[in-house]
Symmetry: C3
Subunit: 336 residues, 3 copies
């Protein structure tokens, strides 16, 4: 059953904020994914519904992200909400005049202004600080190298949709494990499931940090570090590839050294299990060869598409939980 | 009674433009505030209405202002209008290629394009110039150090809502009186009422200009300049605090000297009358201590909220005067 | 009759993309302009219709253009579509992180994201590259010095609306013929008609390129190069004036020399035929004197207005061809 604050008592939140991927319990994730599938089913038949009519979703983006921005925008609009788009908030907002994030949160969540705010901000913890003061639900759309919980949810949903389960799967995380926010968040979510095994495949200089490894161990998730993608490829159901993010390297030489080591091309695809899939949070540069796009194992574009529907499910629970419950109660093929 | 061009024959305007706070007569202000209260009453029950369906409100912002932008956006959308958001117009618009504001106004107010334009521009007089050529109503959302009439209206509405009247109130304006557009505009509006007394509390270097003081005197508004906030605080119903705006100081040393002199903290709150209120146009930096946020005397966040509804009232009169009149004719509790 | 892919088999397109003005056949242009007139007729009576309800139009602009942006936005919204506005995509998009246009196109045209994408990008060929991979119709909103097909269509529609025909008209193109994208595109369109005569009036340094002149000759369009506007003015039905675009000159001295040579003022107006009209793609700087604005021969602002309705017609054919056909089948005065 869906309750208005169904993601629980996370830091005694007053509203159904989404700040970190850890805040979701396994059962909530399962409910969320069932809801997502139902919404997807409805939208196959209708391009837009009015379930969120009357709601304003304000998109405050301090940091570039066409992908996350347009995904939240589309998710809002397809469910009937209106959006207030604020791109480039870093330069444009009152925060630029020296206002605290606290004040920005209070004002932007004003009585008549926003029914929900999506925030993307370059500083770790910014979304959490704002959520504390927001007068409406606030979703973290990425706080720098910190968290990007909705990305983690769409990643997990993509795996769930493919295999019908998460338990017992073997998953390789490849490339930039030190700086990749998406890999970190996905690990937190995977730790809620049973019998998962994770392979961390990366150069030594950008290995996964200890905190995640310890978290996995504590939650009885088997993990292994290795450097040879060819050895790992045949063993896993999912290869989660990442971009080596230039913007986090101060030393350009080091960047050049590590990028391109783990390029996925058709030679890697041949090593995969028949039902193995390639995922990537995108944008890619050259870490997946274009020849892979046509492979039946490629899932990265579907993964991006899934993000729109997962975000719809989250918006629906936050803004119209009654409709969400109604959908859950219907058999899948009658959801429309 | 509301007429389509109810703010009169201001510079023989063809459309109900809003250019300067002076253009409103006392009776119009009173009508506007009654309408605002009715709209507020309706929106308590419904989150969105369709009174402006069919209208496009174009938001052309040359200058950063998340607050004003999102307020006009929310006001438009809650009444059922659609918005075309143009942030960063300075860099982005044809004006950047050398087009005159006159041509920009003619094109942006095109037959099918905008039903109303909100303009924010860094140059004094820019809104007035554009209004002259606009083919639809144009609202000034702030023209640099010039005017910001909707801010002045929301300030006045906040006072009216608190005390049920403006006549006879004592009001302190504190801080940056030289450069603060909002204080100047508010003074123009207060000069339409009777028995108001204004205290200008500021360092000498940023005192109120003579034009406003002369205007007040001509309109029989009592005013006094002083430097000691503690002396003034117990005497007034409203303290209107301002931010010392760094961007207007060429000499950083002078800025550092004057900022922070009139910080409002709980010591000032203790000196206030029981029903005295603290207002601030926001954003604040440190001129109101955070401890004041929880005081029953703080009104600055409500003030920001009020802006959304006041702007709704203005949009409604400009774009659907029939509905505005209909609302005015209904008893308050039946407005919905 | 309108078919879903009624602009034919242009490069074996899967979707009704609009990439270049050449792709339209004469008959399609005539159909499009009849449809445009019908839409105009409906919108005279209603300010908004719901024909595109359920559709999301994503506006991805890498290059400044308030005019094209707001025109597509208004066209979408007036027909009932929702917009996702992405201005400043150059800095803001994943493309800025090194993503290929190909990937951007695939993701932005995602299953739930966009029903149609409008792209403005500074590189020639960018729209064509993206259209190849887009999973929904994509409209070229200008690809640098390349094409700007919807501008060309609105230019042609303005002439058609004025004279009820294109065949047999004499048209002068004036000013920057070397760099002007709009002039080039308009020439391609004019070449589909019979008996048109074009006068290219420009300084030698910015004359029309050979490719267009050859294209015209191949299509039996009469053209002539000359330098004296006064000699040409009395002979033509249309003077199409252009801005000398500073941004394409590396040598500022050369720019200063050529600009301002062909200013249209009331002295030129006096030389015109009675029914001769002045057009301009806008923005103008000083190449048309302001005194001309009041002349009955000025059409440049109507021309800009026409752009909104022509774009509506294109959107309608791409997203709701059934409604487009329905409109076409009705007599003009019953279209509403």
């Amino acid at each position: 059953m869906i309750e208005k604050k169904w993601w629980g008592d996370y830091e005694k939140i007053k509203f159904p904020h989404i700040v970190a991927s850890q805040q979701f319990e396994r059962q909530q994730l399962e409910t969320l994914f069932k809801l997502t599938a139902k919404i997807e089913d409805v939208l196959e038949k209708e391009r837009m519904v009015n379930w969120l009519y009357g709601n304003i979703v304000t998109l405050m983006f301090w940091q570039p992200s066409t992908r996350t921005f347009s995904s939240f925008a589309a998710a809002s609009v397809r469910l009937g909400a209106s959006i207030i788009p604020i791109l480039d908030a870093g330069k444009f907002s009152s925060h630029a005049k020296g206002e605290s994030l606290q004040d920005t949160a209070i004002v932007m969540s004003g009585r008549w202004k926003s029914d929900l705010i999506v925030v993307r901000h370059p500083e770790i913890g910014s979304a959490r600080s704002m959520a504390k003061y927001s007068r409406c639900p606030l979703f973290n759309g990425g706080d720098g190298p910190g968290q990007h919980p909705t990305q983690a949810l769409l990643d997990l949903y993509t795996i769930q949709k493919e295999y019908g389960k998460i338990d017992g799967l073997k998953i390789a995380m490849v490339g930039d494990l030190l700086y990749s926010r998406t890999v970190r968040s996905l690990c937190y979510l995977l730790s809620k499931f049973d019998g998962v095994k994770i392979f961390f495949v990366s150069p030594e200089s950008i290995r996964m940090k200890d905190d995640i490894k310890e978290h996995l161990t504590e939650n009885k998730i088997d993990w292994k570090e290795c450097t040879d993608l060819k050895e790992v490829a045949p063993k896993v159901s999912v290869i989660y590839q990442t971009r080596i993010q230039k913007e986090y390297f101060s030393d350009i030489k080091e960047y050049e050294e590590v990028r391109g080591i783990y390029i996925i091309n058709n030679n890697i695809i041949k090593l995969l299990k028949d039902d193995g899939i390639i995922m990537h949070p995108l944008p890619r540069i050259d870490e997946i060869a274009y020849e892979v796009d046509k492979s039946p194992n490629a899932r990265y574009f579907e993964q991006a598409d899934n993000g729109d529907v997962v975000r719809m499910a989250l918006l629906l629970v936050a803004l119209n939980p009654t409709k969400a419950e109604e959908l859950m109660a219907m058999p899948l093929d009658k959801a429309a």
